[in-house]
């Protein structure tokens, strides 16, 4: 098959930094092509160049062998190149059908609603999914919104569909459905570019895999000829396989947190567990198993209605985050943008925010040198990569933002650290560093709760694993005994296990 889209020797730089240098990629119809690389490898720039948001400085883009130049997304769309992202872009107040046909403007006629809805239903059926075209997009789940986006692309006769980390926020069975959609697109002759940090997905889905590093093309091989270890080695340029190995437990056996029969009506119930100083307890389960709600209840953001909590033997009732902090609890949220960091503010100010009292003297006067000194210490300790400590946090890469968030909460000197999805959407090098930081904290005697949907991460970090399903704890493993299969089995349906 001749390629439908070809990128030849594409280079693009921003302010002297080369994001892409001499990158080539060829997309064939009816194939799923996976693209992997660490954060900052240039994947986003590549996508933006393919969809006309950026224009390459040198190199050619060819559609059906003819050189083209995309001046904007409209040009790319006309050539049949479209992209969907982790966060679907839909109009929340419009219906499914309206969202799908939003780019089809027919100014002369009135809208024939029943025909529009039928056509939308047919479009969705082509993806092997059922979805009522009359529903408002706001009512849909994230996965369903993605389906709408894909249907919109198909309605525009997409020939190359780029899927940028589409599975990052989906639950396991939603990912399966997404795979089904990707395969049916492939069978209909669409060239799919699939980007994901979850390497295991690539083996399940892709035909070909391209590895990129530092804006350069490293390799393109049939997926049958690569292994996870070989891909990781190529992504990072060094052998990282061993870094995810387990380490001996730092559990002191001394109970710090004792939760019994915690419940919140309609959300979770019968939640009882303990965490020791120096112990890492992981909450595993599907997205929507209400793990985050338990964490937020312990931090006082959405307090529980029933049950009791003891910290170091003292019964406590936690009603707000300020109080939780004063009890020595810190919570690193999974939602960096909404709850974690103020992206427009500087690194130092974000780090010191929960502890402003520590830095202020008479009349609340801030000791800025003291703030800077502490931030500098964290920059060194956590290896935060930034030009300086006053740049807005939003300009950092995901991994570095995650480290700033960790610094912010470590600065509160917590006794209990709750970390929700500590490494989601960050690259493999940063991931290993975050794991190292968490282990070091446990060694210092901090009790750690990790909520993670990343099973390899859970298996390598946890001293104990609690599996949640539908608002209840349905099982417990020690870190040594657990396997992917045993945990996943319990998370999906405990009765069968």
């Amino acid at each position: 098959m001749p390629p439908v889209l070809e990128m030849r020797d594409i280079s693009k730089s921003f302010g002297g930094t080369a994001a892409l240098s001499g990158f080539s990629l060829s997309m064939e119809p009816g194939r799923i092509h996976a693209l992997v690389g660490e954060n900052g490898a240039g994947k986003s720039t590549l996508i933006k160049t393919m969809t006309g948001i950026h224009q390459p400085e040198t190199g050619d883009i060819l559609v059906d062998g003819q050189p083209v130049s995309f001046r904007g997304t409209a040009d790319a769309q006309r050539a049949g190149v479209a992209a969907i992202y982790q966060e679907p872009m839909v109009f929340p107040d419009l219906s499914v059908a309206e969202n799908i046909f939003i780019s089809h403007q027919n100014r002369r006629q009135l809208i024939n609603w029943s025909a529009l809805n039928d056509e939308a239903a047919a479009m969705i059926a082509r993806l092997g999914v059922t979805l009522d075209p009359r529903r408002a997009a706001a009512e849909l789940t994230l996965a369903e919104q993605q389906t709408v986006e894909i249907a919109r692309a198909i309605s525009l006769n997409v020939r190359v569909l780029i899927m940028d980390e589409p599975s990052a926020s989906l639950s396991d069975h939603e990912v399966k459905r997404l795979f089904g959609i990707a395969r049916s697109l492939r069978d209909q002759g669409v060239a799919v570019l699939y980007i994901s940090h979850r390497l295991e997905e690539i083996f399940a889905l892709a035909d070909t895999v391209t590895v990129m590093r530092d804006g350069k093309h490293i390799s393109t091989k049939p997926v049958t000829e690569v292994t996870q270890a070989s891909m990781i080695a190529e992504m990072v340029g060094r052998d990282m396989a061993g870094r995810f190995a387990r380490e001996p437990s730092k559990d002191t056996g001394e109970v710090l947190l004792n939760v019994s029969n915690l419940a919140k009506t309609g959300v979770f119930r019968d939640v009882s567990f303990t965490v020791n100083r120096g112990e890492i307890v992981c909450f595993s389960g599907l997205v929507g198993a209400r793990r985050t709600d338990v964490g937020l209840a312990l931090f006082g953001v959405a307090p529980a209605d029933q049950g009791s909590v003891e910290i170091a033997g003292q019964p406590v009732t936690i009603t707000n985050p300020a109080q939780a902090q004063s009890l020595g609890i810190a919570y690193v949220s999974e939602d960096r943008r909404k709850l974690g960091l103020a992206l427009t503010e500087g690194i130092t100010a974000n780090i010191t925010l929960p502890m402003l009292g520590k830095y202020s003297g008479a009349f609340g006067w801030l000791d800025r040198m003291h703030e800077l000194a502490d931030a500098q210490a964290f920059r060194k300790q956590l290896n935060i990569k930034a030009a300086n400590l006053t740049v807005p946090v939003g300009t950092l890469s995901g991994g570095n933002q995650q480290k700033v968030m960790l610094a912010k909460w470590l600065n509160t000197k917590p006794r209990l650290l709750i970390v929700d999805e500590p490494t989601r959407g960050i690259d493999i090098g940063a991931k290993a560093e975050v794991h190292q930081i968490l282990r070091a904290l446990a060694a210092e005697g901090v009790a750690i709760i990790i909520i993670s949907s990343d099973l390899p991460e859970v298996l390598s970090l946890a001293d104990r694993i609690l599996v949640m399903r539908e608002g209840r704890i349905v099982g417990e493993f020690t870190g040594e005994d657990a396997t992917d299969e045993s945990v996943m089995h319990l998370a999906v349906a405990a009765e069968v296990a």
Binding site: P321, Q325, A349, L353, P354, G364
Partner: protein
């Protein structure tokens, strides 16, 4: 060159340019008498602009400031007419400002109603009270010492209101840029959920700002009464727009979280110097207002132009 890249650097350059043009075109412009006069004509507005900077960086708006100015001024006049001693009348007028601010805070912080809605309503309500108190006839029988405070120099030729502005400007700068309170103002404006999650007392900060806005507005209203020597129901009517304009021109984001006190102060100086310079050239008030409107639009456009310009240059390279 790097100084020019910041918004404050840009404003500073504009200010120097305006001062240079004014000084070149009118020999009167730089004289101390004219400079004081320039400040004195808008001194109440620029005092309120200082506290408005906190309100807007915090992600809120206070449309009721001019009505609080009017209400405090009218209450003062009414009390003086009722033969309440001047000192007491001032205290009571300030307390009314505090009560107005607390009333706004109650609905915004206590009941969670958007500040745009609450202060739009209280803008009308407080103005209504002012008109009920004084109606249309006006009051001008103020004690002589009070009129002197408004019209004569306190330190040399510099009148009280300018001294108040200078002191408040320094205080506002220090509080916003150098204290924990100021830091909280920024973070709450930038991302309220993050601020709450980090354990900040978001509601207390917002309440304090609206109460301060009420008190400072009342103070500005009293200073206005002293300068003009009379009050009427429509005192300071429409001032809120001029005040908000100065703050936005200073680079404060209407969405909250961004801007600086030095930006606001530079914008104040620019507006004053521009108006004064045009007045010295006998340009009418209506045209002056038009020019300021265009200036505001340009100030919003400059960052956008700079960005697209930068992109064009990058493409040419």
């Amino acid at each position: 060159m790097t100084a020019l890249r910041s918004w404050e650097g840009f404003l500073f350059a504009v200010l120097i340019l305006i001062y240079a043009v004014n000084a070149w075109s009118s020999p009167v412009f730089l004289t101390p008498g004219n400079q004081i006069n320039m400040f004195q004509l808008s001194v109440e507005k620029i005092i309120v602009a200082l506290v408005m900077t906190f309100v807007i960086i915090n992600g809120e708006i206070d449309l009721s400031v001019a009505s609080i100015m009017g209400l405090a001024a009218c209450a003062f006049g009414w009390l003086v007419q009722a033969e309440v001693p001047g000192g007491w009348a001032i205290m009571i007028a300030l307390m009314i400002g505090l009560a107005c601010g607390a009333f706004n805070a109650l609905f915004i912080v206590g009941f969670g109603i958007p500040s745009l809605v609450v202060t739009l309503a209280t803008m009308i309500a407080f103005r209504g009270f002012a008109r009920v108190l004084v109606e249309d006839r006006g009051i001008n029988a103020f004690p002589a010492w009070f009129n002197h405070l408004g019209q004569k120099g306190l330190i040399g030729p510099v009148p009280l209101a300018m001294v108040v502005f200078a002191v408040l400007a320094v205080l506002a700068y220090l509080i916003l840029q150098r204290t924990a309170f100021g830091r909280k103002v920024y973070f709450i404006g930038a991302n309220r959920a993050v601020a709450e999650f980090s354990g900040l007392d978001v509601r207390a900060v917002k309440a304090k700002i609206f109460i301060a806005s009420g008190v400072v507005s009342a103070l500005a209203g009293i200073l206005f009464a002293a300068r003009v020597g009379a009050v009427r129901g429509d005192v300071a009517q429409g001032f809120e727009l001029d005040i908000i304009t100065m703050v936005l021109l200073g680079g404060v984001s209407i969405f909250g979280g961004a801007g600086t006190m030095s930006g606001t102060i530079l914008a104040i100086l620019i507006v004053l110097a521009l108006r004064n310079g045009m007045a010295l050239q006998n340009i009418t008030g209506h045209i002056q207002t038009g020019v300021l409107g265009i200036l505001l639009i340009l100030s919003v456009m400059v960052p956008i132009i700079r960005e697209t310009g930068g992109r064009l240059i990058a493409r040419v390279r």
